[in-house]
Symmetry: C2
Subunit: 186 residues, 2 copies
DNA sequence: CTTGACAAACCGTCCAGACGGTATCTTTAT
DNA sequence: ATAAAGATACCGTCTGGACGGTTTGTCAAG
């Protein structure tokens, strides 16, 4: 045994570090890069250490999910605070946050999670919960066809970013966002 | 050695069978179900036989991709043939084909491929090619913001189907499709 | 002195691909 | 027409490595 674990104990910090590294790894190495070995090693922790914080891999993904969704929620909240008009407010915030994602830096962090979202029934249902909670919460203001449509289009753009299938320059993106916001008002 | 390989040789048939089985397996067992062992066994072929037709796993995915995209193209072509109006014709066909997918039967076949599309750089670039070829081809008739928007919304709905995140009944889907088609005309 | 926070070695499984073989099909030379 | 000579289409086994998870041990803090 080395002396490595004589270092100061800082569980919360290590936990956070593990999540960050997991996100970064999925960014750099693709989905396959996110293995228990790789994550723990890159985080400067042993595999046992990782498994102490997250009892299995799914728990790690769950943590990642929580992290990103919480951040997403906070950004939406912040965007909504600036919007005086009630009708379509949530949708406009959704648009803003989605389009504010920098395709080269922010999106990769979501890539792995998206795949897990499609593949893992457990995460799938958690996302489903998020969607239904949100759409129930804003049923009064954001249930119009225009709003629903605008949000679907956002998802489409997001998918395009993930797949890098369309190259939209900044102007094109801004134009799209404007049009979507117009849709959210009708 | 058994007598198994004394059967009549029918390379094209076996190849097709392998692709079908691969699609079916990814449907039934999820993404993890699509292993060389599982596919070959379910197709009644040895692993060696599978690897004869597809030298590696990526090649198998490639074949699957070709298959599905070809089918997709054909359906779009067919839908376009019924549409007398040039402006937005491709987009309307795209809408029709996307919304015609039965979420419970057709979509699962795409699930695995979508994941591969996000994860595998090679397939990602192939899809990128498809998109850019198509959008160049129909730049005259389908480059308006409305059309682009409508197609992005289709992608969003498709993603929602994959994740089963929204439950849209038939009417809601039909309504969305109508609205999108209206967008494609402006 | 007990519990939480790690380390390090280890295990069982799964899986992609390699390999060496055999049977059937096709072409070519006679 | 036919037989030799490949070429193609498979079969079945083996292996090396990756990976998720377990176990056992060691400190440090409260």
């Amino acid at each position: 045994m080395t002396e490595a674990h004589r270092r100061k104990k800082q569980p919360e910090q290590v936990r956070q570090q593990l999540l960050e590294v997991a996100a970064r790894l999925s960014h750099e190495q693709g989905v396959a890069g996110i293995t228990l070995d790789a994550v723990s090693q890159a985080a400067g922790v042993s595999k046992g250490g990782l498994l102490h914080h997250f009892p299995n891999k799914l728990a790690l993904l769950d943590g990642l999910f929580d992290d990103l969704v919480t951040r997403f929620d906070r950004e939406i909240e912040a965007a909504m605070a600036h919007d005086p008009v009630a009708k379509g407010r949530f949708t406009r915030a959704y648009i803003d946050v989605c389009f504010a994602l920098d395709p080269t830096t922010d999106v990769p962090g979501w890539r792995m999670l998206t795949i897990a979202l499609i593949a893992e029934p457990h995460l799938k249902s958690r996302w489903r919960d998020w969607v239904s909670r949100r759409s129930a919460e804003f049923a009064e203001t954001d249930a119009s066809t225009g709003c629903v449509l605008a949000r679907f289009a956002c998802d489409g753009v997001w998918l395009a970013d993930l797949m890098q299938s369309h190259d939209l320059d900044a102007e094109a993106r801004a134009g799209l966002a404007e049009n979507l916001k117009a849709l959210s008002a009708q």
